[in-house]
Symmetry: C2
């Protein structure tokens, strides 16, 4: 991922900007929020947002998309902290480190998650407040609405509800819906919000949505396969319960083709975006 | 509170509008969200927002402020659900009913809280997306930023952090800071966002902030005194640990005078707002 180190640095710097001037009372919760924000996340979602923006705007200056890309990363991080809690997946380790609540207590982990979700709305409203052009403001509000719909009960949170509620009655189709909500939703939020800010048409947005859904589902299947190989997976709801590894690898291949087709349908140079998406969908290779 | 039943009906109807078209997977979390939204909350924050808006705009039509008033109520409700969790205050009863996690499980209660906070951002971005006038959009974004700053780590969430972190080392001054963050922050969010939407000047906003802080702190002290009398209070961080009831009643009197003075400094008819605020600050009488 060395190729993306400049992007990652910009993303990290933008995140850091929001953690200044903290007083005594908030130190611990800020520490807990930054612990999870800077513990090995690959910044997949913000990088996808930036590369989508660069492709569609034709510009190398991606400053405009950073607040949106970072907002999605804040939401992603909060969802991981809450998903790991004892009442949810009860995970002790994430990315090779103790989970947030193991380090900071359950109470602080819940509040740190709340703080990150809240901060995503703060970051976006602070940014949009500085705009003075109605067309620009309207695109930004539309992108913000898209992001918070994707992170809401019908998408991201709904996916976690399925994960909690379905056990013995889980099947392949519900599992696919779960992947679409739990994993693809925020990938879609990154990609589509970037498309909106870059001025994409409704038709182009539909292609970006389909592209992002394919990437998101393939990325999650790939994750499951890698976890299984590392033998780190506890008894969890994954497609490996219903299909063989070979069947799933062929599903990833289909999704990769569909994702590429959607990008090819766009009249932009999507080389960089395609390359990064393929990397995500085929990490095991 | 019969006098406010029309306002409460408008608020409740606006809340309901956001809970339609739910599919199978989300039913339980929607049920959990609406359980806490409709279990005896007095709609104090949205009513304060509406009355502030009516006073400053001079209009009886308060439709414009409803999304902001409701956003604050959604945030307030999520914070109660999360505060009641076993890892936090571990409360079994709220407003005479079982707390959310006692009815729906801890996992669903965490997700319902997340869903409500997320929904507040959805409600606001959906509303603002419909605006076509730059000045109106800019006021709305400013109000939104104010709300999410008040609900963030420096205010609302910070107040809960103090409640969790301070026990034997709690004192009167830190307790007052906690009340300002935990209780006054969202009252300030309601009142000030309404002022911003009604077009208040910076000076007027400063008066509204001071008014709301006084109301918020007095309201919390009143709450502690009433809880103590009902003998329902577990060992919690309240000012009654450090002052007598008489001292606190006299503090409420001071805060009431200061709140009224702030309203009197405004060149608007604030009779209705003052009457409601006095009701909140002196519920025991």
């Amino acid at each position: 991922m060395d190729k993306y180190s400049e992007l990652i640095e910009s993303i990290d710097n933008y995140i850091y900007k929001n953690f200044t001037a903290v007083d005594e009372y908030q130190k611990k919760v800020y520490e807990s929020m930054t612990y999870s924000l800077f513990s090995g996340g690959k910044r997949v979602r913000p990088i996808l947002g930036i590369l989508t923006y660069k492709a569609l705007s034709g510009s190398d200056d991606y400053e405009e998309i950073l607040p949106f890309a970072v907002a999605v990363e804040l939401i992603h991080t909060y969802s991981l902290i809450h998903d790991d809690l004892p009442a949810m997946d009860d995970d002790d380790i994430r990315r090779g480190k103790p989970t947030n609540h193991r380090v900071y207590s359950e109470a602080i982990a819940i509040l740190a998650g709340d703080g990150l979700l809240n901060m995503s709305a703060e970051v976006l409203s602070k940014e949009i407040e500085t705009y003075d052009d109605l067309a620009k403001v309207k695109k930004a509000i539309k992108a913000m609405k898209y992001i918070f719909t994707a992170s809401g009960v019908h998408d991201l949170i709904g996916g976690q509800v399925i994960d909690i509620e379905y056990n013995d009655d889980m099947n392949y189709d519900i599992c696919e819906i779960m992947y679409k909500l739990k994993t693809a939703a925020l990938i879609r939020a990154s990609v589509v919000s970037a498309g909106i800010i870059a001025g994409a048409s409704e038709e182009e947005i539909a292609s970006l949505e389909e592209f992002a859904n394919c990437v998101g589902i393939a990325y999650q299947i790939e994750d499951d396969i890698l976890d299984e190989e590392l033998d780190q997976k506890k008894e969890k709801n994954t497609m490996l319960k219903f299909k063989t590894k070979e069947e799933l690898l062929s599903r990833i291949e289909d999704l990769t083709i569909r994702a590429n087709n959607e990008l090819d349908s766009l009249e932009y140079d999507t080389t960089e975006l395609k390359e990064f998406a393929e990397l995500l969908m085929n990490r095991g290779k």
